[in-house]
Symmetry: C4
Subunit: 192 residues, 4 copies
Amino acid sequence: MDTGRLEAFSDGVLAIIITIMVLELKVPHGVDLGALWPLLPVAVSYLLSFVYLGIYWNNHHHMLHVTERVTGGMLWANLHLLFWLSLVPFVTAWMGENHFEQQPVALWGVVMLMAGVAYYILTVVLIRHHGPESALRAAVGSDFKGLISVVIYAVAILLSFANRWVSLALYVAVALMWLVPDRRIERSASTH
Amino acid sequence: MDTGRLEAFSDGVLAIIITIMVLELKVPHGVDLGALWPLLPVAVSYLLSFVYLGIYWNNHHHMLHVTERVTGGMLWANLHLLFWLSLVPFVTAWMGENHFEQQPVALWGVVMLMAGVAYYILTVVLIRHHGPESALRAAVGSDFKGLISVVIYAVAILLSFANRWVSLALYVAVALMWLVPDRRIERSASTH
Amino acid sequence: MDTGRLEAFSDGVLAIIITIMVLELKVPHGVDLGALWPLLPVAVSYLLSFVYLGIYWNNHHHMLHVTERVTGGMLWANLHLLFWLSLVPFVTAWMGENHFEQQPVALWGVVMLMAGVAYYILTVVLIRHHGPESALRAAVGSDFKGLISVVIYAVAILLSFANRWVSLALYVAVALMWLVPDRRIERSASTH
Amino acid sequence: MDTGRLEAFSDGVLAIIITIMVLELKVPHGVDLGALWPLLPVAVSYLLSFVYLGIYWNNHHHMLHVTERVTGGMLWANLHLLFWLSLVPFVTAWMGENHFEQQPVALWGVVMLMAGVAYYILTVVLIRHHGPESALRAAVGSDFKGLISVVIYAVAILLSFANRWVSLALYVAVALMWLVPDRRIERSASTH
């Protein structure tokens, strides 16, 4: 089996998740820009999650590009990832509507931590089926960035009890780390 | 005609169904995790339906993979299946918001029973057009798991009048039975 | 240009339209089946529109299958069709929630009439670019069913002022007429 | 990497954006056409944004058609465009529900201006990777229409403080300018 339909389904789910988040930007009744002011935390929260989902889509795109065949295990590892990502609109809205209170900030991190673990599991399942000499194995490498991200999420969740703005700064830092495109896979892919 | 667009459309509908279910997780007003507590039945209900829709997507993926041509009858058998699955978000929300009361639990089973019957009809239509010697026929076999699932749904619906938790346990049991990937088709497909 | 992306985009829009209609089935607060009773007109309205959108998707699928190239004019003729179909969830909900009152029933017919005209325009644009000797021309023929449908919609809209149930019967009759798959195109396509 | 998945994901997001806008057409409680009257500004606003999103989809379709390879930078330039377009349902609803008041009209223009800039950036990124002799470069040319559109948006935003109907007329003028299909790319593409 090839990866076409797995990619198409994941694209569909990610496109919907990214787009329904914007439904939380409830249209205000006022007619001046001041009426939009209370929406600012929701909008910032949306922007952060949009970037995260963009990162997931980009990395998913790169990784599936060097995947050669699909098994039942991969389908479920992928659905497991999509399950956690499907919760992103909920925790994004909860965090934004509550002006980045401590517990919503921590829960946003928990969902991202679980999504990070799910992505790691997907990586492991994919590599196991492609062998240590595969282009995929060479491209993904040790997935250092994936592991360090999960560690940072865990730290950010704990630190949220002390200072939730530090947690948010860590979430932004992880995003910036990933915004540098994953040159390992891109370089590897370009040689195939 | 090939199966490409049939798969793409089904993927789209399934991706949307799976994702709009999460809209039932209404963002609470409280700012602590306790405010999420009343959402637990809705979340459990969502998880159960997510797994079921994942199973449908996986099986649909496997079956269409060994399908060689598409007819008008198949398009309608597929739309019939999608119709019943489109009702899943509704019955999932009704079951979750009412804390697994008897009648919502029974109705969830009715929709799954109808979806199971629709899937069986799709299987029959597909096999009829591919002949008894086809890879599809060999792969799907007698579809024992599909038939037994429909029987279990019927039993669960009846038992819900006695004890709705037994019904839920049966729903979970069917999901576990399917989480084992359908090795028959996968094995068959891998030889093509 | 080939038709791939035109089909993919149309599939996406149709899949979303078909699925968001079900959001109008608002989850009731009651826990017994009696609480679902007031939803019956909404559900019947949903079923009718689901079948209509299924017919559009099927016919669109068949017609694009024998389309060989895409021009800017076709993209806009297709978007025009999607615009009218995007209004279907609105008129479906208005008709269902108002228990098939006269004016909602008439407006549902108006949107279907406009969609029918838009489909006819798309057919004309496609045929003009493929020539009188094309497989498409032979397959679509004179599009008698398309034209008679538009006439029936117009009659049903007018008759709704006298008896809205007659209008609904006509809507059902059109659906039944189309549920017979379009054998002209299928036969033609199978010879290519 | 080829452009397939980039197109599929963009199609998905655009299809969802275009379709969820219609959810702002809230079903009224009245049963006569008069009950729809208050929805007229929302419907006009929807029509304007539908046409704009159709234009974006068409141009995106044409441009990606002559794109030969995809890099990480392109994925992000594309996501940047989708981010601004994802805000269209929000500003469309705000503008429609407030009967084209000055500040909502201006904000609609701001989002379109940012989307126009994002599209221009995407064009630049694509051309940079394809070289001055590429079919893409020849097809896109100096993108005069793109630049003039952004200038008109800026003028319309400023003029909205004087007369918001002039701004709306400018928005409609830009749409009409684009409704003429982009013959440059189409002509170029047809020679490949």
